[in-house]
Symmetry: D2
Subunit: 122 residues, 4 copies
Amino acid sequence: MTDIITVRGYVATEVRLTLAQSGLPITGFRICSTERRFDRETGAWVDGHTNWYYVSMFRQLATNAGASIKKGDRVIVSGRLKVRPWINADGRTGMSVEIDADTAGHDLMWGTANFRRTSADR
Amino acid sequence: MTDIITVRGYVATEVRLTLAQSGLPITGFRICSTERRFDRETGAWVDGHTNWYYVSMFRQLATNAGASIKKGDRVIVSGRLKVRPWINADGRTGMSVEIDADTAGHDLMWGTANFRRTSADR
Amino acid sequence: MTDIITVRGYVATEVRLTLAQSGLPITGFRICSTERRFDRETGAWVDGHTNWYYVSMFRQLATNAGASIKKGDRVIVSGRLKVRPWINADGRTGMSVEIDADTAGHDLMWGTANFRRTSADR
Amino acid sequence: MTDIITVRGYVATEVRLTLAQSGLPITGFRICSTERRFDRETGAWVDGHTNWYYVSMFRQLATNAGASIKKGDRVIVSGRLKVRPWINADGRTGMSVEIDADTAGHDLMWGTANFRRTSADR
Protein backbone atom coordinates (compact mmCIF):
# COMPACT_ATOMS: atom_id res chain seq x y z
CA MET A 1 0.00 0.00 0.00
CA THR A 2 1.76 3.06 -1.24
CA ASP A 3 2.02 6.64 0.06
CA ILE A 4 1.14 5.56 3.60
CA ILE A 5 3.05 7.41 6.29
CA THR A 6 3.25 7.33 10.08
CA VAL A 7 4.29 10.60 11.70
CA ARG A 8 4.94 11.57 15.31
CA GLY A 9 4.28 15.24 15.73
CA TYR A 10 3.41 18.28 17.80
CA VAL A 11 -0.10 19.70 17.42
CA ALA A 12 0.58 23.29 16.43
CA THR A 13 -2.95 24.65 15.97
CA GLU A 14 -6.35 24.45 17.62
CA VAL A 15 -8.23 21.27 16.76
CA ARG A 16 -11.54 22.02 15.10
CA LEU A 17 -14.39 19.56 14.77
CA THR A 18 -16.96 20.66 12.21
CA LEU A 19 -19.92 19.04 10.53
CA ALA A 20 -20.22 19.03 6.76
CA GLN A 21 -23.66 19.85 5.37
CA SER A 22 -24.17 16.12 4.92
CA GLY A 23 -23.64 15.69 8.64
CA LEU A 24 -20.17 14.15 8.19
CA PRO A 25 -17.88 15.00 11.15
CA ILE A 26 -14.55 16.48 10.01
CA THR A 27 -11.57 17.37 12.17
CA GLY A 28 -8.42 19.12 11.02
CA PHE A 29 -5.25 20.54 12.52
CA ARG A 30 -1.61 21.10 11.73
CA ILE A 31 1.30 19.15 13.14
CA CYS A 32 5.04 19.47 12.84
CA SER A 33 7.55 16.66 13.07
CA THR A 34 11.23 17.28 13.70
CA GLU A 35 13.83 14.70 12.76
CA ARG A 36 16.22 13.69 15.55
CA ARG A 37 19.60 12.45 14.44
CA PHE A 38 22.78 11.42 16.13
CA ASP A 39 25.66 13.79 15.48
CA ARG A 40 28.76 11.65 15.42
CA GLU A 41 31.12 14.58 15.87
CA THR A 42 29.55 15.85 19.07
CA GLY A 43 28.19 12.49 20.22
CA ALA A 44 24.77 14.03 20.88
CA TRP A 45 21.28 13.84 19.38
CA VAL A 46 20.34 17.00 17.54
CA ASP A 47 17.28 18.36 15.76
CA GLY A 48 17.21 17.97 12.01
CA HIS A 49 14.64 19.00 9.41
CA THR A 50 11.07 19.89 10.41
CA ASN A 51 8.08 18.77 8.30
CA TRP A 52 4.65 20.38 8.53
CA TYR A 53 1.46 18.51 7.72
CA TYR A 54 -2.24 19.24 7.70
CA VAL A 55 -4.10 16.29 9.25
CA SER A 56 -7.66 15.50 8.05
CA MET A 57 -10.01 13.16 9.88
CA PHE A 58 -13.54 12.01 9.15
CA ARG A 59 -16.40 10.19 10.84
CA GLN A 60 -15.78 8.45 14.18
CA LEU A 61 -12.09 9.31 14.25
CA ALA A 62 -12.95 12.99 13.71
CA THR A 63 -15.47 12.96 16.55
CA ASN A 64 -13.17 11.23 19.03
CA ALA A 65 -10.07 13.20 18.07
CA GLY A 66 -12.03 16.44 18.28
CA ALA A 67 -12.89 15.57 21.88
CA SER A 68 -9.38 14.37 22.76
CA ILE A 69 -6.58 16.19 20.93
CA LYS A 70 -5.59 19.71 21.92
CA LYS A 71 -3.08 22.25 20.72
CA GLY A 72 0.28 21.42 22.27
CA ASP A 73 -0.33 17.66 22.46
CA ARG A 74 2.09 15.12 21.05
CA VAL A 75 0.43 12.68 18.67
CA ILE A 76 0.99 9.75 16.32
CA VAL A 77 -0.85 9.96 13.00
CA SER A 78 -0.97 7.26 10.35
CA GLY A 79 -2.61 7.59 6.97
CA ARG A 80 -2.32 8.40 3.31
CA LEU A 81 -0.20 11.35 2.25
CA LYS A 82 -1.86 13.76 -0.17
CA VAL A 83 0.13 16.51 -1.81
CA ARG A 84 -2.21 19.05 -3.35
CA PRO A 85 -1.46 22.15 -5.36
CA TRP A 86 -3.90 24.97 -4.71
CA ILE A 87 -4.81 28.32 -6.21
CA ASN A 88 -6.89 30.97 -4.51
CA ALA A 89 -9.20 33.67 -5.79
CA ASP A 90 -6.47 36.31 -6.20
CA GLY A 91 -4.29 33.95 -8.20
CA ARG A 92 -1.81 32.93 -5.53
CA THR A 93 -0.72 29.32 -5.72
CA GLY A 94 0.77 26.92 -3.22
CA MET A 95 0.98 23.34 -2.11
CA SER A 96 -0.65 21.63 0.82
CA VAL A 97 0.78 18.48 2.32
CA GLU A 98 -1.99 16.54 4.03
CA ILE A 99 -2.32 13.28 5.85
CA ASP A 100 -5.74 11.72 5.36
CA ALA A 101 -5.63 9.91 8.69
CA ASP A 102 -6.59 6.25 9.08
CA THR A 103 -5.92 6.56 12.77
CA ALA A 104 -4.31 8.78 15.40
CA GLY A 105 -3.51 8.75 19.09
CA HIS A 106 -1.56 10.58 21.76
CA ASP A 107 2.16 9.79 21.77
CA LEU A 108 2.76 8.05 25.10
CA MET A 109 6.46 8.88 24.92
CA TRP A 110 5.40 12.33 26.07
CA GLY A 111 2.62 11.77 28.60
CA THR A 112 -0.10 9.55 30.00
CA ALA A 113 -3.67 9.10 28.80
CA ASN A 114 -7.00 7.93 30.14
CA PHE A 115 -8.81 6.06 27.39
CA ARG A 116 -12.56 5.56 27.29
CA ARG A 117 -13.94 3.21 24.64
CA THR A 118 -16.82 4.65 22.63
CA SER A 119 -17.12 1.75 20.16
CA ALA A 120 -17.58 -1.87 21.13
CA ASP A 121 -15.53 -4.57 19.45
CA ARG A 122 -16.95 -5.77 16.22
CA MET B 1 14.63 2.51 7.55
CA THR B 2 13.80 -1.11 7.14
CA ASP B 3 11.64 -3.55 9.15
CA ILE B 4 9.63 -0.69 10.68
CA ILE B 5 5.95 -1.43 11.08
CA THR B 6 2.86 0.43 12.30
CA VAL B 7 0.12 -1.77 13.70
CA ARG B 8 -3.35 -1.00 15.03
CA GLY B 9 -4.36 -3.65 17.49
CA TYR B 10 -6.35 -4.90 20.44
CA VAL B 11 -4.53 -5.29 23.76
CA ALA B 12 -5.11 -8.94 24.61
CA THR B 13 -3.19 -9.29 27.87
CA GLU B 14 -2.57 -7.38 31.07
CA VAL B 15 0.03 -4.64 30.66
CA ARG B 16 2.95 -5.14 33.02
CA LEU B 17 5.47 -2.48 33.94
CA THR B 18 8.57 -3.93 35.55
CA LEU B 19 11.98 -2.56 36.45
CA ALA B 20 15.10 -4.31 35.27
CA GLN B 21 17.85 -4.72 37.85
CA SER B 22 19.54 -1.72 36.25
CA GLY B 23 16.43 0.32 37.04
CA LEU B 24 15.32 0.41 33.38
CA PRO B 25 11.49 0.51 33.09
CA ILE B 26 10.16 -2.21 30.78
CA THR B 27 6.56 -2.72 29.67
CA GLY B 28 5.26 -5.61 27.63
CA PHE B 29 1.94 -6.94 26.39
CA ARG B 30 0.40 -8.81 23.48
CA ILE B 31 -1.76 -7.30 20.78
CA CYS B 32 -3.66 -8.76 17.86
CA SER B 33 -4.44 -7.02 14.62
CA THR B 34 -7.12 -8.25 12.26
CA GLU B 35 -7.09 -7.30 8.60
CA ARG B 36 -10.30 -5.76 7.26
CA ARG B 37 -10.94 -6.22 3.59
CA PHE B 38 -13.74 -5.47 1.20
CA ASP B 39 -15.48 -8.55 -0.15
CA ARG B 40 -16.53 -7.69 -3.66
CA GLU B 41 -19.01 -10.53 -3.91
CA THR B 42 -21.03 -9.58 -0.85
CA GLY B 43 -20.24 -5.86 -1.00
CA ALA B 44 -19.32 -5.86 2.70
CA TRP B 45 -16.17 -5.45 4.79
CA VAL B 46 -15.09 -8.70 6.37
CA ASP B 47 -12.38 -9.83 8.80
CA GLY B 48 -9.26 -11.32 7.24
CA HIS B 49 -6.10 -12.72 8.77
CA THR B 50 -5.17 -11.95 12.40
CA ASN B 51 -1.58 -11.24 13.42
CA TRP B 52 -0.32 -11.50 17.00
CA TYR B 53 2.60 -9.46 18.31
CA TYR B 54 4.44 -9.04 21.57
CA VAL B 55 5.07 -5.33 22.17
CA SER B 56 8.17 -4.27 24.12
CA MET B 57 8.69 -0.79 25.52
CA PHE B 58 11.51 0.78 27.46
CA ARG B 59 12.27 3.92 29.48
CA GLN B 60 9.78 6.81 29.39
CA LEU B 61 7.46 5.10 26.93
CA ALA B 62 7.31 2.03 29.19
CA THR B 63 6.47 4.15 32.24
CA ASN B 64 3.75 6.14 30.52
CA ALA B 65 2.25 3.18 28.68
CA GLY B 66 2.26 1.14 31.88
CA ALA B 67 0.14 3.88 33.49
CA SER B 68 -2.15 4.32 30.47
CA ILE B 69 -2.74 1.13 28.47
CA LYS B 70 -5.06 -1.56 29.78
CA LYS B 71 -6.20 -4.96 28.58
CA GLY B 72 -9.04 -4.46 26.11
CA ASP B 73 -7.79 -1.08 24.83
CA ARG B 74 -7.30 -0.36 21.15
CA VAL B 75 -3.83 0.98 20.38
CA ILE B 76 -1.48 2.10 17.62
CA VAL B 77 2.09 0.84 17.92
CA SER B 78 5.00 1.80 15.70
CA GLY B 79 8.48 0.33 15.88
CA ARG B 80 10.97 -2.20 14.67
CA LEU B 81 9.82 -5.74 14.05
CA LYS B 82 11.97 -8.45 15.63
CA VAL B 83 11.40 -12.08 14.77
CA ARG B 84 13.21 -14.28 17.27
CA PRO B 85 13.50 -18.04 17.42
CA TRP B 86 13.59 -19.36 20.97
CA ILE B 87 14.35 -22.63 22.74
CA ASN B 88 13.45 -23.39 26.32
CA ALA B 89 14.99 -25.62 28.97
CA ASP B 90 13.05 -28.73 27.97
CA GLY B 91 14.04 -28.38 24.34
CA ARG B 92 10.86 -26.93 22.92
CA THR B 93 11.39 -24.34 20.23
CA GLY B 94 9.27 -21.57 18.82
CA MET B 95 9.27 -18.13 17.34
CA SER B 96 8.34 -14.80 18.88
CA VAL B 97 7.24 -11.86 16.79
CA GLU B 98 7.95 -8.66 18.66
CA ILE B 99 7.61 -4.98 18.02
CA ASP B 100 10.31 -2.99 19.76
CA ALA B 101 8.12 0.11 20.04
CA ASP B 102 9.36 3.58 19.16
CA THR B 103 5.99 4.95 20.18
CA ALA B 104 2.43 3.95 20.98
CA GLY B 105 -0.91 5.55 21.71
CA HIS B 106 -4.59 4.78 22.08
CA ASP B 107 -6.42 4.39 18.78
CA LEU B 108 -8.89 7.29 18.68
CA MET B 109 -11.00 5.48 16.11
CA TRP B 110 -12.30 3.48 19.07
CA GLY B 111 -12.60 5.96 21.93
CA THR B 112 -11.59 9.25 23.51
CA ALA B 113 -8.56 10.03 25.65
CA ASN B 114 -7.47 12.57 28.22
CA PHE B 115 -3.78 13.27 27.70
CA ARG B 116 -1.51 14.69 30.38
CA ARG B 117 1.98 15.72 29.33
CA THR B 118 4.75 14.37 31.55
CA SER B 119 7.67 15.63 29.43
CA ALA B 120 8.18 19.24 28.41
CA ASP B 121 9.13 20.07 24.84
CA ARG B 122 12.79 19.91 24.17
CA MET C 1 -3.32 0.69 6.46
CA THR C 2 -1.97 -1.54 9.17
CA ASP C 3 0.59 -4.37 9.23
CA ILE C 4 2.28 -3.08 6.06
CA ILE C 5 6.04 -3.39 6.09
CA THR C 6 8.91 -2.50 3.77
CA VAL C 7 12.00 -4.66 4.12
CA ARG C 8 15.38 -4.57 2.44
CA GLY C 9 16.87 -8.02 2.41
CA TYR C 10 19.15 -10.67 1.02
CA VAL C 11 17.57 -13.47 -1.03
CA ALA C 12 18.68 -16.58 0.82
CA THR C 13 17.00 -19.33 -1.22
CA GLU C 14 16.30 -20.22 -4.82
CA VAL C 15 13.33 -18.32 -6.26
CA ARG C 16 10.63 -20.68 -7.47
CA LEU C 17 7.84 -19.72 -9.82
CA THR C 18 5.04 -22.26 -9.84
CA LEU C 19 1.53 -22.35 -11.24
CA ALA C 20 -1.40 -23.21 -9.02
CA GLN C 21 -3.96 -25.61 -10.47
CA SER C 22 -6.08 -22.59 -11.27
CA GLY C 23 -3.23 -21.25 -13.38
CA LEU C 24 -2.33 -18.56 -10.86
CA PRO C 25 1.42 -17.79 -10.94
CA ILE C 26 3.00 -17.97 -7.46
CA THR C 27 6.57 -17.11 -6.51
CA GLY C 28 8.14 -17.60 -3.09
CA PHE C 29 11.54 -17.28 -1.47
CA ARG C 30 13.16 -16.44 1.84
CA ILE C 31 14.96 -13.22 2.67
CA CYS C 32 16.87 -12.02 5.68
CA SER C 33 17.24 -8.45 6.80
CA THR C 34 19.94 -7.37 9.22
CA GLU C 35 19.59 -4.19 11.25
CA ARG C 36 22.50 -1.74 10.99
CA ARG C 37 23.00 0.52 13.97
CA PHE C 38 25.56 3.07 15.04
CA ASP C 39 27.59 1.99 18.03
CA ARG C 40 28.35 5.15 19.93
CA GLU C 41 31.16 3.60 21.93
CA THR C 42 33.20 2.48 18.95
CA GLY C 43 31.91 5.14 16.55
CA ALA C 44 31.17 2.51 13.91
CA TRP C 45 28.11 0.96 12.28
CA VAL C 46 27.56 -2.61 13.39
CA ASP C 47 25.17 -5.43 12.56
CA GLY C 48 22.19 -5.85 14.87
CA HIS C 49 19.33 -8.33 14.87
CA THR C 50 18.51 -10.39 11.75
CA ASN C 51 14.90 -11.05 10.72
CA TRP C 52 13.89 -13.85 8.36
CA TYR C 53 10.80 -13.66 6.16
CA TYR C 54 9.10 -15.82 3.60
CA VAL C 55 8.01 -13.66 0.66
CA SER C 56 4.89 -14.65 -1.33
CA MET C 57 4.00 -13.16 -4.70
CA PHE C 58 1.09 -13.75 -7.04
CA ARG C 59 0.02 -12.98 -10.60
CA GLN C 60 2.09 -10.51 -12.65
CA LEU C 61 4.49 -9.76 -9.82
CA ALA C 62 5.15 -13.49 -9.38
CA THR C 63 5.87 -13.94 -13.08
CA ASN C 64 8.21 -10.97 -13.34
CA ALA C 65 9.99 -11.63 -10.04
CA GLY C 66 10.41 -15.28 -10.98
CA ALA C 67 12.22 -14.16 -14.13
CA SER C 68 14.29 -11.48 -12.38
CA ILE C 69 15.20 -12.30 -8.77
CA LYS C 70 17.91 -14.83 -7.98
CA LYS C 71 19.45 -16.30 -4.86
CA GLY C 72 22.04 -13.87 -3.56
CA ASP C 73 20.30 -10.74 -4.87
CA ARG C 74 19.52 -7.78 -2.67
CA VAL C 75 15.88 -6.73 -2.83
CA ILE C 76 13.26 -4.37 -1.47
CA VAL C 77 9.91 -5.94 -0.64
CA SER C 78 6.79 -4.11 0.47
CA GLY C 79 3.55 -5.77 1.53
CA ARG C 80 1.35 -7.08 4.27
CA LEU C 81 2.94 -9.03 7.09
CA LYS C 82 1.25 -12.34 7.91
CA VAL C 83 2.26 -14.28 10.99
CA ARG C 84 0.90 -17.81 10.78
CA PRO C 85 1.11 -20.63 13.28
CA TRP C 86 1.39 -24.04 11.62
CA ILE C 87 1.14 -27.66 12.64
CA ASN C 88 2.34 -30.56 10.51
CA ALA C 89 1.26 -34.16 10.20
CA ASP C 90 3.53 -35.45 12.98
CA GLY C 91 2.27 -32.84 15.41
CA ARG C 92 5.16 -30.40 15.29
CA THR C 93 4.15 -26.78 15.49
CA GLY C 94 5.82 -23.57 14.47
CA MET C 95 5.31 -20.08 13.19
CA SER C 96 5.88 -18.64 9.73
CA VAL C 97 6.46 -14.95 9.17
CA GLU C 98 5.43 -14.04 5.65
CA ILE C 99 5.24 -10.91 3.58
CA ASP C 100 2.39 -11.02 1.09
CA ALA C 101 4.15 -8.70 -1.36
CA ASP C 102 2.42 -5.78 -3.04
CA THR C 103 5.62 -5.05 -4.89
CA ALA C 104 9.33 -5.84 -4.97
CA GLY C 105 12.46 -4.77 -6.78
CA HIS C 106 16.22 -5.07 -6.71
CA ASP C 107 17.92 -2.85 -4.15
CA LEU C 108 19.97 -0.38 -6.20
CA MET C 109 22.17 0.35 -3.21
CA TRP C 110 23.87 -2.94 -4.05
CA GLY C 111 23.96 -3.09 -7.82
CA THR C 112 22.63 -1.93 -11.19
CA ALA C 113 19.63 -3.24 -13.10
CA ASN C 114 18.36 -3.31 -16.67
CA PHE C 115 14.58 -2.94 -16.58
CA ARG C 116 12.27 -4.05 -19.37
CA ARG C 117 8.61 -3.05 -19.15
CA THR C 118 6.16 -5.90 -19.65
CA SER C 119 2.99 -3.93 -18.84
CA ALA C 120 1.97 -0.72 -20.51
CA ASP C 121 0.74 2.21 -18.44
CA ARG C 122 -2.90 2.07 -17.62
CA MET D 1 11.20 6.00 12.86
CA THR D 2 8.97 8.80 11.77
CA ASP D 3 8.29 10.44 8.39
CA ILE D 4 9.49 7.37 6.49
CA ILE D 5 7.50 6.60 3.37
CA THR D 6 7.50 3.93 0.67
CA VAL D 7 6.14 5.02 -2.68
CA ARG D 8 5.56 3.17 -5.94
CA GLY D 9 5.72 5.59 -8.80
CA TYR D 10 6.31 6.48 -12.41
CA VAL D 11 9.57 8.23 -13.30
CA ALA D 12 8.37 11.39 -15.00
CA THR D 13 11.65 13.15 -15.77
CA GLU D 14 15.13 12.33 -17.03
CA VAL D 15 17.37 10.87 -14.32
CA ARG D 16 20.46 12.97 -13.79
CA LEU D 17 23.59 11.82 -12.03
CA THR D 18 25.85 14.69 -11.06
CA LEU D 19 28.90 15.06 -8.90
CA ALA D 20 29.02 17.68 -6.17
CA GLN D 21 32.24 19.66 -5.90
CA SER D 22 33.18 17.38 -3.04
CA GLY D 23 32.91 14.44 -5.42
CA LEU D 24 29.67 13.20 -3.86
CA PRO D 25 27.45 11.48 -6.45
CA ILE D 26 23.90 12.90 -6.47
CA THR D 27 20.95 11.65 -8.49
CA GLY D 28 17.54 13.27 -8.69
CA PHE D 29 14.29 12.85 -10.58
CA ARG D 30 10.57 13.32 -10.20
CA ILE D 31 8.03 10.56 -9.73
CA CYS D 32 4.28 10.50 -9.53
CA SER D 33 2.18 8.00 -7.64
CA THR D 34 -1.51 7.53 -8.32
CA GLU D 35 -3.80 5.98 -5.74
CA ARG D 36 -5.86 3.01 -6.93
CA ARG D 37 -9.10 2.45 -5.08
CA PHE D 38 -12.05 0.14 -5.43
CA ASP D 39 -15.23 1.91 -6.46
CA ARG D 40 -18.04 0.03 -4.79
CA GLU D 41 -20.70 1.50 -7.00
CA THR D 42 -19.15 0.42 -10.28
CA GLY D 43 -17.33 -2.60 -8.88
CA ALA D 44 -14.11 -1.52 -10.59
CA TRP D 45 -10.71 -0.18 -9.55
CA VAL D 46 -10.29 3.47 -10.43
CA ASP D 47 -7.53 6.07 -10.24
CA GLY D 48 -7.61 8.39 -7.24
CA HIS D 49 -5.34 11.24 -6.20
CA THR D 50 -1.86 11.65 -7.73
CA ASN D 51 1.11 12.70 -5.60
CA TRP D 52 4.31 14.15 -7.05
CA TYR D 53 7.68 13.79 -5.35
CA TYR D 54 11.24 14.81 -6.03
CA VAL D 55 13.55 11.88 -5.23
CA SER D 56 17.11 12.60 -4.02
CA MET D 57 19.84 9.99 -3.86
CA PHE D 58 23.44 10.14 -2.74
CA ARG D 59 26.62 8.06 -2.87
CA GLN D 60 26.41 4.44 -4.06
CA LEU D 61 22.64 4.52 -4.51
CA ALA D 62 22.98 7.63 -6.70
CA THR D 63 25.63 6.00 -8.87
CA ASN D 64 23.70 2.77 -9.37
CA ALA D 65 20.32 4.43 -9.85
CA GLY D 66 21.83 6.88 -12.32
CA ALA D 67 23.00 3.88 -14.39
CA SER D 68 19.74 1.96 -14.03
CA ILE D 69 16.64 4.17 -13.78
CA LYS D 70 15.23 5.88 -16.86
CA LYS D 71 12.33 8.19 -17.61
CA GLY D 72 9.20 6.07 -17.97
CA ASP D 73 10.31 3.34 -15.57
CA ARG D 74 8.19 2.18 -12.67
CA VAL D 75 10.04 2.26 -9.36
CA ILE D 76 9.74 1.70 -5.64
CA VAL D 77 11.38 4.34 -3.45
CA SER D 78 11.71 4.24 0.31
CA GLY D 79 13.11 7.01 2.46
CA ARG D 80 12.54 10.05 4.60
CA LEU D 81 9.98 12.61 3.45
CA LYS D 82 11.18 16.21 3.47
CA VAL D 83 8.74 19.04 2.89
CA ARG D 84 10.65 22.23 2.16
CA PRO D 85 9.34 25.72 1.55
CA TRP D 86 11.45 27.64 -0.96
CA ILE D 87 11.80 31.21 -2.19
CA ASN D 88 13.63 32.21 -5.33
CA ALA D 89 15.46 35.34 -6.37
CA ASP D 90 12.39 37.14 -7.76
CA GLY D 91 10.41 36.52 -4.59
CA ARG D 92 8.28 33.63 -5.71
CA THR D 93 7.66 31.01 -3.05
CA GLY D 94 6.63 27.38 -3.16
CA MET D 95 6.97 24.04 -1.52
CA SER D 96 8.98 21.02 -2.56
CA VAL D 97 8.06 17.54 -1.43
CA GLU D 98 11.15 15.35 -1.48
CA ILE D 99 12.01 11.82 -0.60
CA ASP D 100 15.58 11.48 0.64
CA ALA D 101 15.88 7.88 -0.54
CA ASP D 102 17.34 5.12 1.62
CA THR D 103 16.83 2.74 -1.24
CA ALA D 104 15.08 2.31 -4.57
CA GLY D 105 14.47 -0.34 -7.19
CA HIS D 106 12.44 -1.11 -10.28
CA ASP D 107 8.87 -2.16 -9.57
CA LEU D 108 8.66 -5.77 -10.75
CA MET D 109 4.88 -5.53 -11.00
CA TRP D 110 5.53 -3.71 -14.26
CA GLY D 111 8.48 -5.48 -15.84
CA THR D 112 11.54 -7.68 -15.48
CA ALA D 113 15.07 -6.70 -14.48
CA ASN D 114 18.59 -8.02 -14.84
CA PHE D 115 20.49 -7.24 -11.67
CA ARG D 116 24.28 -7.04 -11.44
CA ARG D 117 25.81 -6.73 -7.99
CA THR D 118 28.38 -3.94 -7.65
CA SER D 119 28.92 -4.28 -3.90
CA ALA D 120 29.91 -7.48 -2.14
CA ASP D 121 28.14 -8.51 1.03
CA ARG D 122 29.52 -6.97 4.12
